[in-house]
Structures are given as C-alpha cells and as structure tokens.
Assembly symmetry: C2
Homo-oligomer: 188 residues x 2
DNA sequence: ACCTGAACACCGTTCAAGT
DNA sequence: ACCTGAACACCGTTCAAGT
C-alpha cells in the first residue's frame, strides 16, 4: 500500500528528520548540510527531493500546520477563542514553529487549514479571519523569539510588570471576539 | 557640537547606509560584507563599531521605529486606529522593516516607542497594548513578505477573493477598538 | 531513480598587525 | 582609535558522474 520507495529517503521522511532537527536546535541550525549529515547523505542529495531550501521549509510548515486538525463539519460551531488556540498550539508545538510557517508562503490567503478554521468561527468573514490569523502569528512569533533569546542568555528578566503571555493572548482574543458578532464590520 | 569623529564612520552613519541597503535590496542582501563594501571598508572594520550583526540590526530597528515619533503629551488623547497606523506606517517605510524590528529584540515588552504610544491610546492597559502591537507586527510582516514574494516572481495573483490588506488592517482595528473601551477586560 | 564528489560563490566572526 | 589582511568554520546550490 505504501507508494514505491526505492531510494533511502522520501519527502515525508526527510521532513520528519528536519522537524526533529528544528525542535532540537532551532531554525538557524536547520541547514541543508546538517540535515544531510543527519540523514547520512551528501547535501546535494536533498536537491533530488526538494528543489530548494524554501521548498523544504514549505513542506515542514505544512506538517506543523497539520496539527491544527480537520476543519469543523458544516453545521458545527467553533468558538473564536478555541479556533485561535488550536492554531497557536500547533505553532508552539515545535521550536520556531511560527517563524517557519511565516517564512514559508504557507499562509497565502485562501486555502489554509488555519484560515478555514477561523472562517468557520467568524461566520465566513474573510477579512476578520485574516486579521485574527495575523494576530495569532504575530503573538506566537514574538513569544517564541523571546524563548530563543532567553535560552541564549541575553534576556532581561521578564520585567515584572510585563503581562504574561497568556494574559496578552487572552486579552487579544477577548477584544477581537467582543468586536466580532456585531453586524457593521464587513457584512455591509 | 558633534561628538569627536576621528574615524571615517560612526555608528549613525553606518546605520544610515545599512538602512539604504535594506530598502534597496531587502534583508537577505543586507550582509556585513556588502555593507562593508558599500562603506569602502573591510568587513572586519564593522566589528569595531558593532559587536555583532544582531547589534547592528538592533540599531537599524531602533531607527525604523524612530519614525513613529514622540509619544503624546500626558493629557492628550490618541485614538487606537491612529496609534496603530503610525506604527504600521513606520514599519512599511522601509523594505522588510517589520522583519528587522521583529528579529531584533527591540520589542522587549516595556520601554518601546510603539508600546508607549499604544498604552496612551488604550488607557494604560499593558496587556491590550501588547496584543495590539502583536497584531500590527504580524499584519505588516505578512504584507511585506508577500511583497517580497511577488517581486520575486513566484506569487499567485492576489486570488481575487482575498481581502485587500487595508481592509484586513481596518477590520482588525475595528474589532480590537470595539472590544476596548469596555471595563471588564483588564481593569478588574 | 537516486546519490556522490567536487566545485562555485558566498556567509559571520576573530585576531594579529598596521597607522 | 580605527582599520587592514588573512584566516576559520561555515552556508545554499549546481552539475557531471556514478550505480
């Protein structure tokens, strides 16, 4: 049942190893050469499976987003905070997940798991769904970047008065979902 | 009045040239070696003025954010959409501006021009100010990344149904400012 | 079909040495 | 004080050649 596999590695396997490397060492250390070494292969071998590093990262991003899961059945309802949290959690599941997703063109508006989920939570308001997605991405990107900075030593202590990340996320969602549900925004 | 300047270049001048390079060629082409060449200097010379590329980029980010301008006098009022737009416009003023600001630690919560401006517009609600800042950054980052992708050829046409960027930004701000002004969010 | 070997054109950073 | 010269340890990518 598995498709023909004559070579040692196929795309799915390579993406898995890349994801493992990403989570262990972070995006700056996810290089084609390190990935090749991890696969016991020459760097040039990767270019048989992927046309470029961008191509590879796009596949990694798609895999990260797959954690969001299936969009709700038509007729089912999803709350905005639930939808947003599912997306954030998928991005947080791997180190630098938000940056990988952001850097790949995986978020071209339209067909994306994340966007579809938000559309269902926002009554098919495309502009609102995109805006919420941008908030979730911006939030997670900053959170993960600060993690990376803290682990690398050079980070001021959380500055005491700085609201905790969860507060910020909850506040953003509260503002956004309070605003939603009114009619004037984009329903004309 | 100008401080002692015996060498050919000081930090401010180098940042100006870096900003020019950034705007003309984008962040991936803003390398220490190209910057040095532009300054008619060896790459190693830059390390007299900046301890690392990160250090240089932090200075560039600060310069980008300086476009936001002074925070409002105490007592003056700023609307949330106005504040958010001033920040977005500063980021949009240079190619890849949002990415540079994001990658530098210039947005450690607390003392930042952007955060202060939003605090004034949001009645000193720190969590709300941070959330709005994350939306503005996420939005601008995606917009500029798509610009970069489009100029590089490999971009699907705006997909027709995809809401225009300004609509998305306006919708996000509308949701956020409709949510604000209520008491329950963080005033306890 | 899938991979090796070797090369090309780059990177950021360090450090002795010059002026 | 400020910069050069040379090196170190890397990058992504291409391409002929092997199997």
């Amino acid at each position: 049942m598995t498709p023909a596999r004559t070579g040692r590695h196929d795309r799915e396997h390579i993406v898995s190893v890349a994801l493992d490397l990403l989570d262990r060492f972070g995006l700056p250390d996810l290089t084609m050469r390190r990935l090749a070494a991890e696969l016991d292969v020459q760097p040039s071998a990767l270019y048989w499976h992927f046309s470029s590093k961008q191509d590879l990262l796009a596949a990694v991003a798609e895999r990260i987003l797959s954690r969001i899961g299936a969009p709700p059945e038509p007729g089912t309802t999803v709350s905005l905070p639930d939808a947003a949290r599912r997306i954030r959690d998928a991005l947080l599941a791997y180190r630098d997940g938000a940056e990988v997703v952001m850097s790949s063109a995986a978020l071209r508006p339209g067909p994306s798991r994340a966007h579809d989920l938000l559309l269902a939570a926002l009554d098919e308001d495309a502009a609102a769904a995109t805006a919420v997605l941008q908030f979730v991405l911006g939030h997670t990107l900053i959170v993960q970047q600060r993690m990376h900075a803290e682990s690398h030593g050079a980070a001021a202590p959380p500055s005491a008065d700085s609201p905790v990340d969860q507060d910020v996320f909850a506040t953003g969602l509260a503002l956004l979902s309070r605003g939603a549900g009114r009619s004037a925004v984009s329903q004309g």
